[in-house]
Symmetry: C2
Amino acid sequence: MKPSLETIAEKAGVSIATVSRTLNDRAGVNADTRERVLAIARDMGYMPNAAAKGLATSRTYTLGLIMYDRAPQQPICNFPDETMLGVDHEAREHGYHIITTFVNQGMMQDALRVPIIGQQRTDGVILVGPELKASFIIQLHSSNIPFVLVDNLLNETRSDAILCDNVAGSYSITRHLIAAHDLHNLAFFSGPADWLSSRERCQGYENALGEVGAEARVVYMEDTTMQTGYRAMYEALERFPDLEGVIAVNDATAFGAIRACKEQGLRVPDDVAVVGFDNVGWAPLHDPPLTTVRISWREIGIQAARRLIDRIDRDAPASFQLRIGTELMVRQSCGCSPDDQDEAGSMPAASR
Amino acid sequence: MKPSLETIAEKAGVSIATVSRTLNDRAGVNADTRERVLAIARDMGYMPNAAAKGLATSRTYTLGLIMYDRAPQQPICNFPDETMLGVDHEAREHGYHIITTFVNQGMMQDALRVPIIGQQRTDGVILVGPELKASFIIQLHSSNIPFVLVDNLLNETRSDAILCDNVAGSYSITRHLIAAHDLHNLAFFSGPADWLSSRERCQGYENALGEVGAEARVVYMEDTTMQTGYRAMYEALERFPDLEGVIAVNDATAFGAIRACKEQGLRVPDDVAVVGFDNVGWAPLHDPPLTTVRISWREIGIQAARRLIDRIDRDAPASFQLRIGTELMVRQSCGCSPDDQDEAGSMPAASR
DNA sequence: AAAAATAACGTAAGCGCTTGCAATCACAAT
DNA sequence: ATTGTGATTGCAAGCGCTTACGTTATTTTT
C-alpha cells in the first residue's frame, strides 16, 4: 500500500498538516519534528500523489510537448528525439515531467480541446515546429496558457521562442562557399516561405551573396524532404545553367539534390557543391560527406524547458527570444579535402 | 474560467452527480436530461479536470513511456521517434496520453522512485530497450504495476512483451547471402550477449548457417554503434582471412564495418558483403545502399500501447508475447544490383 | 508580572470529480 | 387502497493534498 500523508502523520504522532508543511519545506515546523517526519517519510519511500497535489494546487508539474504529426513519413532528422532528451533533462532538474502529444491539422482547430491542454494536464506547453498554425498558437496566448515556441515565431503576439541562429548559420556556410571555394553562382533551396527557418536561412544566404554583389537565386519547395530537394535540383539545373553550388535549407534536401546531381552525371563537389543545414546523424557518412551547419537540438530543448519553467514558476513576462548558436561543419560536399576535417567528428555514435 | 461539473449542473438545473453520470455514459439518466446536459457541456466546451478525475478514480489515463537515457550520443536510429508516434496514436484512440521519461543507471536502482511511477502519474508503463535492467523490471512486476516490454524480455517473470521477429529476420538476410550470393564464410557482429535482440539475431544467423553446414563466426561487441562495428570489422578481418560477408546486428554497426572495409581497400560488396538490421532512414542513401531488415517501430509502438491499455482497462492477464514481422530490404551492400531494387523505396521522406 | 508577540501545531474547508445510498416519483401488481 | 418495482435523481462521503485560520504553549517586551 502506498503511504499517504496520513500514514506518516500517524506514525510521527502529528497532524497531516504538519507533515505537508515539512515535506514542502514550509516554515513553522519545529526542527525535531521536521527531522522525525522526514526520516519516516524516507523510510516509507513516500512520494506525493500527483493527482491530489495537482487538485489542491492547480499545478501539475508537467510540461506539454506538442509536435506536429507528420504521420507516415520515414523521418531522416534527429531532432524530435534530441530535443525531447534536452527537455526531459532540464524538466527533471526542476521536478517537472513531460507529456508528449502529436497534433494534426484537425486538432489544431481548437487548442483548448487538445486533451492535454483542455484537461489541464500541463502547466504550460512547448510547441515544436513551423507546421503549427498561428491561429492555434494565438488561442493559447489568449487563454493565458504559458508556452514557448521552438523553431517557430509569431509576430502577432509577444511570445517566447527558442530558435537557432539561422541567419548567421546560413551566412557562414554561404560565405564558406564564396570565400574558401570562390563560388559565386549559388542557389538556395528554400522551404515554404511561411516557414520561419526557411525565410531566415534564405536571408543569411542573401546577406553573404550581397557582400560580394552576387545574384540571389532561390528555388522554392513545398516541403523540405529528399524528394523536394531532388526535384529542386532539376529545376535549378534548368534555370541556372552556370550553377556552381547549392545551399539547401536542410540536410534532407541536400541529400535529394545530390542524388539528382549523380543521376545527371554531375560530380559533387567538383561540378557543383551542395551543402545542408542540421548536421543529421549520417551527414558525415554520406558520399560525399556533407558540409552542413550543426544545430544543437538538445540545447534548444534545454533552453525551451528552462524558459517555460521560468514562466510558470516565477511568472516571468513573455516576449523572450533566444538564439542558439550554430556551428559550421566543414566536410567534403563543399569541395574541401578530407584532411581539413577532424577525425573524431566523422563517426557518430549509434545504438541499437 | 474553465467550466466545472458544477457550472453545468447549475445551468441544467440538475445535480453534479447527474452531470457526471451523463458525461461518463452511466445508466440511469433520463434521455431528456441527458440531451440537455450534453448540449450544455458541448456549448461550454467542457473537459473534465484530469487531476480531480484521477484523484477520484485512481486512474490517470496516462501511459508512461520509459526509455534508456544514452545521454550525449548522437543517435543514428529512428526508433524512439517512430515508436512514440505509434504509441501516441494508439493511446489517443483510447483516451490515453503519454508521459515520457528517460532513465539512467542511477534511476534504475529503485523503480518506485522513478517520479512518474512513484507519484502515480501513470496507469502503466511501456519499457523500451534492452538496456533496462532486469531488477528494475522485476520491481515493477512485484508492485503490480502493469507494464509491457519493447525490445526486451524477461524469463524470470511472466510479462508482456512486443518484439520484432529477430530470429526470422536474421535468418532471412543470412539466407539471402547464402542462397542468392553463394556466400558461406559469414561472420555475425553481435552486441552484448545479454541483449535479447543480439542473441536472437545471432540465432537466426546460426540457423541459416546450420542448414548448409557452414561454421558460425561471431564477433562480440560491447555496444552496437558505428565505432564498435568499425573495430569489429578489423577483428573479423584478422580472425577470418577468408571472410566473404558480414551480418551486422544493426545498421549502425554495418556502417562502421563498411567504413573499416573501405579503409582497408576492400570493396563492398565485391570483396566482402555487409548487411544490417533496422532499415534506418539513410540505409538506402549509403554507399553502397545497405541491404537490411526492416522493423516497423511504429507498429511495435501501436501494439505495445494497445496491449498495455488492455491490461489496464480489462485487467487482461499478463504473459503475452507478440512478434512483429520484419521485411528483407534488398539493396546493394549484399551484392545485388540496383535493378533488383524498387525505386520508390529508395528515397525516404524527410522533414525540416 | 502582565501584555504582547511569536512559534508550533491542529482543525477543517476546500480542489473537482465519482459513487454508494437514500429519496422521490410514477406506475403496476396485489 | 396498499405495497412493490424500477427508473431517475440528489445527498454526501470520500480521493490525498494544501492552506487559512484558530489554538496553545513559549518567549519577549515593557
